[in-house]
Amino acid sequence: MKCECMSSTISIETPRKNKYLFDQLEKITLLSHPVMYFLVCLKKEGTDLEKWIPRLDRDKEIMIDDYGPVSFPDILYYKSKLDLLEQNGFFKPVAPGWISFSSLSAGDIENAISNIKQITLEVTDSCNLNCEYCGYGKFYTNAAGRSNKNLDPASVKTLLIYLKQFLDSPLNQSLDRTVFLSFYGGEPLLNFSLIEETVQYAKQMDLKRAHFRFSITTNAVLLDKYMDFLVMENFTVYISLDGNEINQSYRVYHNGRPSFQNIIDNILLLREKYPGFFKENVQFNSVLHNRNSVQEIYDFFKNRFDKTPRILALNTYGIKEEFKDKFRNTYKNPKESLLESNDYSKIEEEMFIRLGNIQEHATFVFQSTNFCFMNYKDLLAPVPKKVIRPYPTGTCIPFSQKLFVTAKGDILSCERISQEFVLGHVSLETVSLDFESIAQKYNHWFDLIREQCSRCSLAATCTQCLFFLIHSQQYPAKKVVCPLSKNPSLFARSFAESIDYFEKNPSMYDKILKEVHIES
């Protein structure tokens, strides 16, 4: 029987001809001498080095392509080095099932909700703008009907009282944890009374081991009316703005009138009235599309506000068949747009982790090395003999990051996933969240992809959210196919991309390690 297994050690050569070995289990990357690399390649091709070496003529040099002649003692030396690596866990056979997953339990969910970081409220599903590319708009199958529905303040109070029992319980492992109460829409300022009432209510809640901070994601159309309140309550304000007037031209009112001037006036007013708040508490989100570019967005915010925005790509999942061409036309890839920039290096340096490509390289550094740990407990944990991940894909444990409530009172684990994946509901009087049934649902969804993940060489470092996959392939699905699922050679290629990047930009490696911190 032929064993279909691969080696835990991947060999890669960058375009500039440097050679490396990376062991997925040991999480060690080594610079490889070309001769050692040559031996590794022979080994991978099936040559038995133990038999091959004795057959060599000891007095003759061996020619290695792209390198030159090598002496017999050098061959022996690098073979010994390979042996040492092998004795220390390199080149282990990695069969399907090299990674094992556990199942989600009700206890995991109770633990997650007791340590929640963010509660996001869809204050209203109505909006005073009618953006062409809106995630709830014409492009997407996901768009649950927008019905000008407002979230009821009584439901929010019911939810907060419900969450208090978890935040106050000993399952909350923190002292003085900041929990963000985030107002989202539609356009949340259209239902300002709920925001005001919720903030007042949350402030008087006597939480034992946590406190609330507030944030809002707004298009800033109504900012002039409510800025005093946002400043007084020390909100973090995320303003959606795509850049200059032309860049912003997809973001229009319902009558088609452009929104740019009103919004800019409001932002300038906020900066003039509250310069300190503007500097510390205001951030911008820009959506990238065919009417702007990374360079234009960067220039606009740098010159106008001395800020660097977060640049978001359009969501490519769940596009309606009839709009696929139009969407393709509207979509712009952030990495490609960055590469087209005149000030590529400067933008990359300044925008840094706000850029997708830097995020990818940071993921590589954090997940493919044996010296980055989430916390001190991870540092102390014994090194596992095989890769163990809690669940397939990179999907979050429900409520470990946030809890999202729609204007209708449906509860989801995140605002970015399709509203088909409802986990519970909040009404005026009660919250219905059954952790046992949520765990079962998740385990069912994980089962759809578990087998595929167990064969994927990216499984140990995967960040793919399962819900984007299920939705894009129509829900309810019986099986999910991950487009990112990688075989070893593709994995080696993506690994080589990061090493290639750091060969060109070694200081970025240092900057990522020193300045990027993942919160959880």
């Binding site: 740990f373 060969e503 993942i518």
Partner: protein, 428 residues
Amino acid sequence: MKHIPYWLYIDSYVHISIKKSGALLYNPLNGNILEYSCNDENKTILSLIRKLSTFKNHRVISLTPEQATQVETVKFIEQLRINFMGDVIEKSASSVKPFQVIPYVKIQRDMNILKKNPNTSPGDKMMTYLDELIIFINNRCSQSCPSCDRYFLQVPCCTAKPAGESILSPRQIASILEETRGSHLDAIHISGGDILSYPYWDELEPLLEKTDTPVFFYIHYLNIVEHPGRLNLFKKDRLTVRIPVIFPFDEEKMKRAFLNLYEAGIQYDLIAIIQSNEEYALLREILERLSDSVSIPGVMYLPFYNGSNTGFFKDIFYVTRGDFKDKRPQNRDIYVNSTLNRVFFGKLWIKADGSVYSNLHSSKIGKIGEYSVYDCVFRELQRGESWWKTRKRVLPCKNCNYEGLCPSISAYNYAIGRYDLCFLSQDN
């Protein structure tokens, strides 16, 4: 070496330490060590190591044809290669400087980062760090072990006070266990005094029902013999009775104690507290003999410093260079040693009067009743008297290149009164 330009590199798995006294390279794959003390002979090599170690060089530096053929450099390259710690690559083999993924211990939820970020607190998820509780529920005992007031300061053991009775109430114990429910503790250790004479014995069982953490009870063998009726509490899979074995002891009564536990179906093990090689040999012999008639389960032999057995400690405990070759500490060990104290981190000791310690040799963190366990964990994380006590913080270790390789500071260092329990420096 040919007269051509090279890239010289040290492998990413090699541990490098540079101090005023010199430099050390350690290969965790084979335990080999290269040491270069600061003298004229090593000047070139030390300069190369310093250059290789700067963060921006990523352990790769350029050698001109002249440098590559210099005697000292050639010698260093040979030493690196023989020990599989580094190598040279001809520059012509690639068109750009190779990149090395050099180690940089990164804790995403680093306490100092959490402190600086206005949206996080150093107390975020801190209770996950609490692993073990050592709770003394009372402090009275009728036995008279020779160094009763000192064993517990070095090894897991019971201890009694001749005067001034303290008792941790069931309410206090309940509150401690409830507060630590989210910590998913690895172990709870219940000690005394003589815990079998705890006045609220019947109230302990329902409390222990509430936790699924393994619990270890420290009981003197004579107390087991004297209170056989109280042993029923321990009849559970996750509960273990731990018996300190201290010379001198009554072999027959010891045997009786083991039998009592064995016959009652109770899990038990032994902590053998040893003060000399002779005691060790004798105890092994006695236990061997006893095992013919009674079950002898796991035995942990732990040395005890009594003030006059330095020689014994030098024999068995002092660190030598050979230990690194034998035990081959791995990079993970080095990362741990440079970050926190592996011995104390995650542990809290609670005395019968409610005083809480992160190490029995450090100052009190707080008192149960006045402070919650949450407060105590937070305070220790902030002050770091024990949990963050690494060798790089103390003299003379912080000046020693072995500092990252040596085991964490432990209770023995406090008991003996020095951090350098080793033969690594000239003075020892």
